[in-house]
Structures are given as structure tokens and as C-alpha cells.
Symmetry: C2
Subunit: 627 residues, 2 copies
């Protein structure tokens, strides 16, 4: 271990004191809030003290600084300890800590980026390391800067498979700038963890998954200082520091006991505080301070105003799958901005994200068949606006990472999702491969934008818009080809629906998206033969839905509409249209969607069997005319 | 290794022949379908041959037999090989295999329980072992029978964290009746897996996670026979057989090469078939046959007509959290049926599933913080109607297992989910702990039933009904207390809404559920003071929603309604009501829900801040009166 210098005795004592100050703040702030997790804070106090006052290099005055070390508290319920560390470091007055969990304070129960020192929200367990891995991947491969990423994970949450996906990702990509600290305090919420204090077991697993594992006494600041030095000196693989700790450490008669999870100390508070104060040698101003980064070596990055390098170039009536157009668009926007990246889960030859790999391998991150790691990595890569990630796989497999996507919304992330192979139109592979719940899922994601382009032209523009849209975006693309219905110079906008077929005599509006827009256009032609005039609307974005255009057009067509989607009945385009028209009297909307568990078969046969083909749309329109 | 007898040479040759027959069927059936995964079938042909014709004990004539060994094909895309094994075993004519993926055949692209020999659907990767673990847990602990459970997992899908959760579950619970076979064929869909043919790495990981690991040549039937014998002879821990295989084995110029995933062989078919035929010594009728179970030792189980052991026993106006009533109901139904079990992810003292643990530890399965394993285990435990599982955790954390739940619907599973801590009403813990997307998620699950009880009485009845409802059920329960509004003898039914407040003069209908039903009742009282008559409806089940009652009552109240929910705007109760009324002219529905990312704060303050409290409902009702 090169250049290791044991810290001076006074530094060691100061680090111990800071740890106990963090404990005191954690106890008093949770007691003031009458809720929270003081015992979970107590086990990580020395880890935070050493990281924030000895190991990490960062600017207290600029928590988002691009060249500073990053810290992710995966066990988000220990937020009070993290807040206390930043307060002691000088970011805000320690007296603010008493506002923990109050309605007018951003010091929430679990960390969110409402706080300027939080990059990613945590609180759903087992997710922190994937996001830290994304940050470390960017630091090593794109920023090529010296900052390191530290991620503190609880032992209870290491039971999450997503954690092991992330350990594998970090070791596979040799993220030696990533350091995991596993807080093995033995106790979960309702009982002991399945592995208790079996440190050798943790070591074996972490080493088998490719990390260097170092077991330390997590309450010994010298042990920690040395381990962090070893981690920083180790090249070629990430390090896991397995910290033997005790829940409620230094809380007499509470330490290492069950039934103290997630509780303020109540009547025990004064006794515990008194004990903690006695442990502190220097109750006055701190004698040590955080270290700044050695240099400002992270490049300035601009991810604004991303454009397709060339406009869409198709002919009306060309048959192209929208997933293919996605691959084309991805390469075009990547050409114009070096921070556009793609991530996929071994589906790149189906989603066409491989197009970017082919032109610039460095900007494609293969995440293999591990969708939680895929999504978490992208959220980490996106934070602090360092990259513009596009995450693709089959739409149905994005459900594997719903919790990560949900947390991504709380993280205020700007990740763009692309889900291919939606609906029964995929055909013979059968229901397990069909995205039939994806619109419901993404509609329910806070602040999301959902593109559902019907042809290659609109897909390219959707991807361009997505790259510039804040928050989570989802673009739903089809496996089979669809006909180009837009001219290359058509101008699209988020929340702007397009009327594709209309006449002053229209009696009904047909609303469809993707494959069902195509079916709706065919249905309109069929209806015309029967003398029925139908208007056709492409919403383009399902969320936000263009309420104004939809209401206006339905009213013009006698208050009648048929909305058709290749998705289950619940939560998708139909519900969006119902919601848009809910306050209007005199509007009726007939909904066609997938109402049964579908089966394997040819795409067109399935569209017909489940009642969303042009034939069924035309019939539904005729029924609606009677209402 | 006791009692190991090397198989006779003619048996060995027959097993080899069967493997190549499976290959032939896989090639011809996928070629007939013009799609599918013949190379993924080829790598597992000997494994299936040995399992189905030497190792497993089962009744070909009764694939669901309770005492027979179980087989789960986690890598569901290799379905043609599995179908071929069953056809060769004699369950159906091999000529049927040519109907693979056709619209009128149940031999779908991926296995589903439409086939009588499939217990659980697969096709979304990394899920099979959790379900197999659930089956093995039931076999060992509830059935106490000799049947063994075999689960074949692909190497690509072992990248899924859910797989490692399941390995841990199996070893933690010492499931020595479970045998994992890992098909390490090196090649994923779009490139080599991250671990290729590094068998020692797989061994290290599996052993670190507590399984016995045996590396074998997966194309050597003797090696396989011996390994399966060792697995069956090993007590106290499950065994993983790590099979070195080649994708496209015995397909010349295709074997072990990239770019052959998920493709019928097309022009290569005849050449490959010719080669495979040459490898077969006995092209005629099989000389060996599957072994029957040694005895019928699994007990007869009856899970029908489950009742609460005693009726609800509350007083009108009592304040009880519905999550507490869940715990009470769980114990009551468990008293009356020995196959009612509970599973939780270290949240049992918050969800009150611990009530069952306290009265009967054997019927509570702790799954620790691994929700995917939790759900997969329950699906496995439920199959073949062996148990009635109740799965509980915070509603938001069920999103972690959306893909498993989605696949559970394809598996036609009868798992009952209970999600506590829904909505902003949980208070200070903040958005990461709030279930705000759960109704959207469960509404989009095919065939689901969603209970959203408002008080303790209706919660007990919801749980009783859930236990007897086929398909997936979800019961949404609250953290804070709610007031008892139903008498103990009230009769509830799935799809039956209850009108709680009404008069002939009603001008508007207020619809709420759980906490917002309570707020709606308060709002009605407030409105009454202002001389406005409001009717209040409790839907009780969000899915199916009682369309008839809702439309009838809204019409009686001037076609006006306000629906309020503690959930994001999209996909929940509001959308359900819109959908129910979409074909009615002259109905307007105002929707109150959570429209912003919420924050930490007191429960009642949050209800008010996000506009779903009684005050806001009353205001909305007054606005709707103008429409």
C-alpha cells in the first residue's frame, strides 16, 4: 500500500468526536420529528466522519461541483446522519437539523435532490450502488477525471438482487474509482438479517463477484482511514469495505438490540445524549476540515439543444419499424452531442441501440440481462447533467425496474427510456414478451413524458424531443413495420396531437397510436366506403395528452370517439383520453384494447383476435354513432 | 455418494439419442414456425433427456400429480425442447410439435400453464428459480413429500439479481429438494455473456451463496446422471449443477457461434437435420421410459371456501388502521385453513403479517429485503393449488416485482398481495415510501382483483374474499387509522360498491376509497351545512369496478361526481371511474389526486397540501355543481 500515512492522534480523536456529534444530531433531530431511524444512523457515524472529514475530496461550498468526490447513501433511512455530516462540514447551520421531516424543510425523511448535496434519491433499498456505478462509469470513461464515488449500503438491503447486479457491473467494468461501504450492523427492520455478523460470508460473496473486499471495524476510524486508502490505491477493480458495526452504537441499552428500528428514542433520549456527550473530547469548533479536490479536472459539459444531425429521410408509405427508426435517430443525435449515450440489456440487436455501438463503441454501455442495474446505472450516469442516457429493452422488461424508475422520478432524473416490442403486434413470441402494461406504468411515473410515435418520421422527432425533455421520458416503439404517414418536414411538439384525416362532415373521431393509428387510418377508409366520415387523430404524446385538440375535434364530430390501443384496457391511452374528456358533457368514448391474456400467433391475426384491428375499429365507430 | 450405479451402456446411448431427437424436433418445429430459438434448445438437450428419462420421477399421464417431481424451464425461450421432451415421453404425439407458435395451438413461443404440464409461465428471465424455490419450500415444509424440484436456468439470465435472491433463499432455507441446472452455453442474445465459459467463477459465486456446485459436461449424459444422483443424495443444501454446454450443440457450423440467437435455421435446416439423424443409433421407439414416483405421499389439499374464523368485531367509529385489520383477518382465515400462508420482506411489523408468525411460525415465510424473490416464491408456493399465499410489504415496494407480478398473471397464479403505507397519508417518511403508483400497476395486471377497503370491517371481508378469488388480488391498506363505517354484519362482494350517504335530493356523488372515502364522508357533512346534498360511494373493489351502481347513482345526482384518491392522477381509481362512465353522455367527473412529487410532513397536512382532503373535496363538489 503506497504512501499510507497513519493519521495523527489528534485527527483520530477529532474523527471520533465528529462521529459522536453525528450521533447526537441524529438522536435529537429524530426525537424532534418524533420519527426516523437514529439507530441506523449510529452504525454509520464513524464511516461518515472519516469520509467527510478525511477521505473525500469535495467542495462544501459547491456540492454539485463536477470534479468533487460523490457520496451516495443507499440506506436512505439513515438520512439524519448524512444531513448532520454536511451540517458539521459547514454547508448549513447545525440548528437546521432540528427541522428534520418538517413540512417546510427539505431535510426529508429520506434524501432527495431537493437538497443541493443529494445527487440521487434513496429510500427504496438496494438501488444506491447501481446509481453510484453509473456515476463512476462516467467519471472513469467520459469525464476521465479523478473524482471517486463512495456508496454506503446497509447489510439488510444487500439481500436485494439489484445490489448484486451492481456489484457485478462495477467489477466487470473495472470501476476502481468506486468504493462500496457495506454497513453490516446485523439488524434489519423486523429481525436479524439472514447473514447476521457473518463477515466471511460477505467477503466470499463480494470477492466471488469481483470486488476487493476488506473487513474492518466500522467504529474504528483508523481502520476506516486505512481501508479507504487501500481502496483508492487499488487499480483495476472496485473495493468493498465490509464494516462490522452495531445498530445503535454508543446508545447504552439500545446498541445491538432488536425492536429499535425506525423509532425516535423517546424517553431514552436524554440518557443517550448525556452518554454521547461524555465521549466527546472536543465539544467546540472542529479542528479538521474537508479536503478540496486536487484539481478541477472534470470537463465542462453541455447537453442543451440536442438536434438530429440530419432530418428524417423517408418516403410517405415506406414501411419501417419504429424500433429501427429509433436506432437511426439515436445515432443522429449522438453525432451532434458527445454526451448522448445508450444502455441496453442484451437486446441491442432487437431494439437497434446497437446502431450507436457500431459507430461509437465508447458510448454504448452493455448492461447484460440485468434491467435494474441497467436503469440504476443510467440514473447515475444522468445525474448532474453529465450525460443524456437512452435506455432500451423490450417494453415489458422495463417493468423489471419499475421501482428504480419510480425512484428515478424522485431523483428528478432525465433518463430516456425506449421500450420496443409493445403489444400483441409482436406476434409469435407470446405474452411474456409483449409490453401490455408499459403505458400504465410510465403514465403513473411522476413528471414523465410519453411518446408513442406511429411511423419513422415521428419516431426520429420523438427521440430528438426526448433528448431535450426534462424528467423521465418513455418512447414506445413497435416490432413490426408501420407505414410512414408524416412528411419529413413535419413539426412535432410534446403535448401536440396531430389530425391526420378530417373533413367538415366527420361524425366520429378515431384515436390510435403506433400500430393502432395505422389501423385507425385503415378503418377510416373502410368507413368512408360505407359513407361514414371519420376523423383520425395521432396523440403523438400520450402524456401530456393534447386535451384541447382532442376535445375540440370530438365535439366537432358529434361528441363521439373510438380510442384503440395495443395495451391492456387499464392505464393506457384510453384512460388518458377519458381523463382528458371527463369534465365534458356530451362526449362518449368507446375503448378498444386487449381484454384477455393474449397468446402466440401471427401479428395481424392477434390484432384481429383481440379486437383492435381496423375491422373492429370500424365496427366500434358504427356502434358509437348510435350513442 | 451412496448407491450410485453407473447407467448401462444402452441406457446411456438411448439418452444420447433422445437428446438428438429433442434437437431435431426443436429445429423442425421452429423452422415450421419460422421463428423461435433452436440453438438455445440444443444446449439443453442432454439435460432434458437425462431429467425426463432417467432422473425425474413423475406421471406422464398426470402432469399435475401432487407427488411427482417438478420441472421449471426458467429459460422459457427453449420451450420447443421442453415440448419435445414431453412429446417423446408420451404426453402427446410428436407430430403436434409442428404446431409450435400457431394461433390454435397451446405450444406457444414461451411456456404457459395453458399446457397441463406447465406449472408456471416463463419467458421473462431470471424468475424460474424463485418459483421453483417456492415449490420446493412447500414440498419440504408443508407437503413433507419426497418430490424434488428441478429448475433449468440459462447463463445469460443468471445476470438477473432476482436469480441470486433465489439462490440465497434456497440455501438459507436448506432446500435440498431443489436442484438448479445452470446451462452455461456462453452466448447471450446479442453477444457473449459477461462471464463466458468461466466455470470456476460460476462455481465460486454459487458456493459463496450457499449451494453445492458441481461442474459437469452438459452434453455428457453419464456426467449428468451422476451429478443428479449427487444432488439427490445431498442433505441440508440445494445443489447447482453447472453445465458446460454449447449453444447450437451438434448443429455443424452453427454450434458455439454468435448471431444464431432466436432464429429458425432456414436454409441450414436440412443440413443440420441430416447431421443429427446420423448421430442417432436407435431411430425407432424408445427403449427407456420415465420413472413413476416411488409413492403418492403428497397430502390432499383443499383451499376452497375459506372463511374468517369469527366475524369482524368492531364498533362504528372505532379508529383502526386497515393494515392492523389485515393482520387480524390473516390469522382468522389461517385458523380455518391450514394452507393459508404469509410471506413478507422484513416489513412484518409494519404490515402486521407478523400476526400469523406469532400464532403459527411455520406458516410465515420471511423473504428478507428481496421483493422479487418474495413474489416469485409465492407464485411457486401457490401453484397446483398447494397453498393460499398472502404477500405483504409497503405498496410502493411491490413495484420492485412488477415483472414477476405480470408473469404471475400469465402463470394464472392465485397469489394475494397486500400493500400497506399507500399514498401521502403515510406522512413523514416521504415519497420513496409512499405507494402512489400501485393502483395503476395492479389495474394493468391481467385478470387482477383490487380491494381498497376503507375501514377495519371491510378489510377483514376483503381478505376473506381475496383468499377465495382466482387470479391475482391486491388489497391496498393504510398506515394511519380510519374510522369504522360499516356494521360488523355488512355483506361485501367483489364488484359491488356501497352507497354510504344518500338522500333523494343529492346533487353530486363523492367517490373515495380508503382514507379518501373518510375524507369524502367528512366533505359530505360540510357540504350539507352549506345546503348541498352529496351522495358518498365506496367502490370497495377498484377492479372490477361496480359500473352499474356508479352510473346509476351519478345519474340520480345530476350527472355529477367527484372522485378522490391518495395516488397519482394516472391509472388509479379516477381512471377506473372515467372508464366506467365513458359511454355515458351527461356525466361529468372531477378528479382529485396527487399531482406533484410529494414531500415529508404530517399526514393530515399532506392530504391538504396535495388537495385530497375533505376541504378540497367540498370545493370540487361546488365547482362540479356549475357544470
Amino acid at each position: 500500500m503506497p504512501n499510507y500515512h497513519k493519521p495523527e492522534a489528534k485527527v483520530v480523536q477529532e474523527l471520533r468526536d465528529i462521529a459522536n456529534k453525528i450521533r447526537i444530531h441524529s438522536v435529537t433531530s429524530t426525537q424532534a420529528a418524533k420519527s426516523g431511524h437514529p439507530t441506523s444512523c449510529a452504525s454509520i457515524a464513524e464511516i461518515l466522519s472519516v469520509l467527510f472529514f478525511h477521505t473525500m475530496r469535495y467542495k462544501v461550498s459547491a456540492p454539485k461541483d463536477a470534479s468533487s468526490d460523490r457520496f451516495v447513501l443507499s440506506k436512505g433511512h439513515a438520512a439524519p446522519a448524512l444531513y448532520a455530516a454536511w451540517a458539521e462540514a459547514g454547508l448549513f447551520p447545525v440548528t437546521d437539523l432540528q427541522n428534520l421531516r418538517k413540512i417546510d424543510s427539505d431535510l426529508e425523511g429520506h434524501p432527495t435532490p431537493r437538497l443541493n448535496f443529494i445527487d440521487v434519491a434513496t429510500g427504496s433499498l438496494g438501488q444506491g450502488l447501481s446509481m453510484a456505478g453509473g456515476m463512476a462509469y462516467v467519471g472513469k470513461n467520459y469525464d476521465k477525471a479523478n473524482y471517486r464515488v463512495y456508496c454506503l449500503v446497509g447489510d439488510g438491503e444487500s439481500a436485494e438482487g439489484s445490489f448484486w447486479e451492481s456489484v457485478h457491473f462495477a467489477s466487470y467494468y473495472k470501476l476502481d474509482n468506486l468504493c462500496l461501504i457495506l454497513d453490516v450492523n446485523r439488524l434489519g427492520q423486523s429481525q436479524e438479517t439472514s447473514m447476521g455478523h457473518d463477515f466471511e460470508n460477505y467477503r466470499k460473496r463480494l470477492e466471488a463477484f469481483g470486488m476487493q473486499a476488506i473487513i474492518v471495524d466500522g467504529h474504528d476510524v483508523e481502520d476506516l482511514v486505512k481501508a479507504f486508502h487501500t481502496a483508492a490505491s487499488t487499480k483495476g477493480r472496485p473495493t468493498a469495505i465490509v464494516a462490522k458495526t452495531f445498530k445503535g452504537k454508543n446508545f447504552p441499552e439500545i446498541e445491538n438490540l432488536e425492536n429499535w428500528h425506525g423509532k425516535a428514542l423517546g424517553g431514552e433520549t436524554d440518557r443517550v445524549i448525556e452518554h454521547l456527550k461524555k465521549l466527546i473530547t472536543n465539544p467546540g469548533p472542529l479542528q479538521i476540515h474537508p479536503h478540496k479536490p486536487l484539481k478541477d479536472d472534470a470537463p465542462v459539459v453541455d447537453i442543451s439543444n440536442i438536434k438530429l444531425s440530419s432530418p428524417p429521410n423517408y418516403k410517405l408509405g415506406d414501411n419501417i419499424a419504429t424500433r429501427v427508426a429509433y436506432g437511426t435517430a439515436l445515432v443522429k443525435i449522438a453525432k451532434n452531442n458527445s454526451r448522448v449515450i445508450a444502455l441496453d440489456g442484451d437486446m441491442k440487436n432487437s431494439t437497434f441501440s446497437e446502431n450507436l455501438l457500431k459507430v461509437d463503441p465508447a458510448r454504448y454501455i452493455e448492461c447484460f440481462i440485468a434491467e435494474q442495474s441497467l436503469v440504476g446505472t443510467a440514473i447515475g450516469a444522468a445525474c448532474r447533467d453529465r450525460t443524456v442516457p437512452f435506455v432500451s429493452t423490450f417494453a415489458c422488461f422495463l417493468t423489471r425496474a419499475f421501482d428504480q424508475i419510480r425512484m428515478g422520478a424522485i431523483s428528478q432524473t432525465n433518463v430516456n427510456f425506449v421500450g420496443s416490442h409493445c403489444g400483441v403486434s409482436i406476434g409469435e413470441d407470446g405474452p411474456s414478451q409483449m409490453g401490455l402494461e408499459d403505458l400504465a406504468m410510465f403514465r403513473a411515473v411522476n413528471g414523465s413524458t410519453i411518446f408513442y410515435p406511429a411511423d419513422a418520421v415521428s419516431t426520429e422527432r420523438a427521440i430528438e424531443l426526448a433528448a431535450n425533455t426534462k424528467g423521465i421520458t418513455f418512447t414506445r416503439v413497435n416490432r413490426p413495420t408501420t407505414s410512414v404517414v408524416y412528411p419529413n418536414d413535419f413539426v412535432f411538439a410534446v403535448g401536440k396531437a396531430n389530425v391526420l384525416v378530417s373533413s367538415p362532415e366527420d361524425q366520429v373521431v378515431l384515436i390510435g397510436a403506433g400500430i393502432t393509428l395505422q389501423e385507425s387510418i385503415t378503418a377510416a377508409k373502410e368507413l368512408a366506403k360505407a359513407g361514414i366520415h371519420a376523423r383520425v387523430i395521432d396523440p403523438f404524446t400520450v402524456k401530456p395528452l393534447d386535451t384541447e385538440t382532442i376535445i375540440k375535434n370530438i365535439k366537432e364530430a358529434g361528441g363521439r370517439a373510438v380510442v384503440t390501443e395495443d395495451h391492456y384496457y387499464e392505464g393506457g391511452l384510453g384512460d388518458a383520453v377519458f381523463s382528458a374528456t371527463a369534465l365534458e358533457r356530451n362526449i362518449v368514448v368507446k375503448h378498444l384494447a386487449i381484454g384477455k391474456l393474449p397468446r402466440s400467433g401471427p401479428s395481424d391475426v392477434l390484432l384481429d383476435l383481440y379486437g383492435i384491428s381496423a375491422k373492429h375499429i370500424a365496427l366500434a365507430a358504427q356502434e358509437v354513432l348510435k350513442l
